[in-house]
């Protein structure tokens, strides 16, 4: 209760996204009046927080998700974009998307541009302040690793793009296993934007590391090995006493291929339109192998280690010329 002498009052320090009722009584020497009718107001929500580590993008789109900072649900969200140019009025909002019901949106963008994207929450009380913006580059494809899928023995290093495995003793071990994680194959899935067209990324490997890298459907069996089933496609490197051996696995089958220079940086091109998944030695622009497959669903990049070692993932790279192999 607030005592005021004027016929107006400003009330501060209210909680965001909350409904309040206000009423007024008049007071004189004889006592208090009955209360007025109640006025109901809803305060505007707090600005959401964009999950910067979960942004996924490609040349033509971005998938942004965020979380609400209020306990109660809001009515909807609004996303605002500004395309960054080198001119002075660079930060003008160029597009708004309104009426977003969930905490996620797929936005269509133009290639090789930079955008600032921010989100506002909306309720009856109005719109929140703009969230902290995120910067998105539509150069190449950018994805993050899905930690929930990581085998317990697989560690993701601080940069978020290097995976490591120290020891292989007992892969079906006693460490906690989450529903979504790989249990036998020491692997992890990336979260690729579900968008058609072409996607390219590179993986830096070490000469003495055995690995499997490629793509897999979201529902690829977590107790399986990458490439051993029909929901995953991968390049596998094995070291035998006499040589480096390479397999290109899908449904457990591989062609018989010899590669004379062990690649240290492998380029992977996923082409939904032409139904191809291609692997390149990115250092010398050498094409290694192409799977021809009509992907029935969107896929995610997948990575697994079979000996102790590390894999470094590089993305947000424009497609090199050597991938113009049609």
């Amino acid at each position: 209760m607030l005592k005021v002498k004027e016929t107006y009052c400003t009330i501060t320090n209210l909680l965001p996204n909350t409904q309040y009722e206000f009423w007024v009584s008049a007071l004189n020497a004889s006592g208090i009046s009955p209360p007025s009718e109640r006025a109901v107001y809803v305060t505007a929500p707090s600005p959401p927080a964009i999950k910067t580590k979960k942004i996924r993008s490609c040349e033509n789109a971005a998938l942004v998700c965020w979380e609400s900072r209020d306990i109660n649900p809001v009515d909807s969200y609004m996303v605002e974009l500004s395309k960054l140019t080198d001119e002075e009025n660079g930060d003008i909002i160029t597009e708004s998307i309104i009426g977003i019901p969930n905490c996620e949106v797929l936005i269509h963008l133009q290639p090789t541009q930079r955008y600032h994207i921010s989100v506002r929450a909306l309720n009856l009380g109005g719109s929140s302040e703009r969230s902290e913006p995120v910067l998105i580059h539509t150069t190449g494809t950018y994805f993050c690793l899905n930690e929930d899928t990581a085998h317990p023995l697989l560690a993701i290093l601080d940069d978020g793009f290097t995976i490591a495995c120290d020891e292989l003793e007992n892969p079906e071990c006693d460490l906690p296993i989450y529903d979504n994680s790989f249990t036998r194959c020491i692997g992890i899935l990336g979260s690729l934007i579900p968008f058609p067209g072409k996607h390219y990324w590179e993986v830096e490997v070490e000469e003495d590391t055995e690995y499997r890298i490629g793509v897999a459907f979201e529902n690829t069996p977590r107790h399986g090995y990458l490439g051993a089933n029909n929901s995953s496609w991968c390049m596998r490197h094995i070291i035998t006493p006499s040589r480096h051996k390479y397999e290109f696995l899908h449904s457990g089958m591989t062609p018989d291929i010899r590669i004379t220079i062990p690649p240290r940086r492998i380029g992977i091109l996923l082409d939904y339109e032409n139904c191809k998944l291609s692997f390149f030695n990115a250092d010398i622009a050498q094409h290694l192998y192409t799977f021809n497959s009509r992907f029935q669903h969107f896929v995610h990049p997948c990575f697994a280690l079979e000996t102790p070692g590390i894999l470094r993932i590089h993305n947000g790279i424009a497609m090199p010329l050597c991938t113009a192999f049609p």
Partner: protein
């Protein structure tokens, strides 16, 4: 250098032609096939040389390989020469199918009675490209080579002996190490004499070991059911081992169920054309 057109057939909107000319290297009349893609009508095109194998003429590749659609799509001129001089009336030239006529082995012979006419190395390296560039809308800076079996051996040695001349190279079931196989020993013995040190200059595996300066990206297809592979005539493992040692990039594909025939070539020719197009059209 007068060219006489022998035949012309429209194919995928381009033309498959055969020409005949008097060769100064081989001292006889020689034929070659040339496919001119639709793009050649309006501009200069890169040239891809195909070298055929034992017993072939300029006809086999142009009628059986099924390369025209891919060549048209990528705008490549494809030249398919014959595999040896013809009609020279050299004694013994028709005695075997793997020596003499149809078996030039892409060398410059030093022994009699072959040394006057059997100069396929110089013919393919110098005379033929000069003739092609003078008479057709070619881009002389953009040239690549590929071939089958003996022609695969030819493609490998031309690429290795002439760094920078060819933008790309590939082969189907090539004879990779002729000094170690029966075919090679017979041919080199006959054309180059008994001093085996003179044979090494025409052996792809040896060339890799001794002058490994190749930045070329080799694509090789080999049928797993190829009778000549199991007979030890092709020896790709030796070439692969040498390239691994010398860090020369090779992708070697062993194709399940395929033999030595043009059916095998026709199956994978598109991959090879695309491989060359990537470098020739860059």
């Amino acid at each position: 250098m007068a060219l006489k057109q022998v035949s012309s057939n429209k194919c995928f909107e381009g033309f498959q032609k055969v020409f005949e000319h008097d060769s100064t290297e081989l001292k006889c009349k020689m034929k070659f096939g040339i496919y001119l893609p639709p793009k050649a009508e309006t501009g200069k095109c890169p040239v891809l040389y195909w070298l055929s194998g034992l017993t072939c003429t300029e006809q086999n590749f142009i009628t059986k390989a099924g390369f025209h659609q891919a060549a048209a799509e990528h705008g490549l001129i494809v030249v398919a020469p014959d595999t040896s001089p013809r009609g020279c009336n050299i004694e013994g030239e028709d005695e075997s199918w793997d020596f003499g006529t149809g078996a030039g082995f892409y060398v410059d012979a030093t022994e009699d009675p072959w040394k006057t006419n059997y100069r396929m190395y110089s013919y393919i390296k110098d005379e033929l490209p000069k003739l092609i560039n003078a008479n057709f809308p070619t881009d002389p800076e953009r040239m690549s080579v590929f071939g089958h079996s003996m022609g695969g051996h030819g493609a490998l040695i031309f690429a290795l002996k002439n760094p920078g001349k060819y933008k790309s190279v590939s082969a189907f079931a090539p004879i990779c190490n002729p000094i170690q196989c029966q075919w090679g020993k017979k041919a080199f013995g006959g054309y180059l004499g008994s001093d085996t040190s003179k044979w090494e200059a025409y052996d792809a595996t040896q060339l890799v070991k001794s002058c490994p300066d190749s930045h070329l990206d080799f694509l090789i297809d080999q049928g797993k059911d190829d009778q000549f592979l199991s007979a030890g005539q092709l020896l790709p493992d030796n070439f692969i081992a040498a390239c691994t040692e010398r860090k020369i990039p090779v992708v070697f594909r062993l194709q399940q169920g395929y033999d030595h025939s043009y059916f095998f070539i026709a199956t994978f020719i598109n991959d090879h054309i695309k491989h060359h197009a990537k470098y020739l059209n860059a």
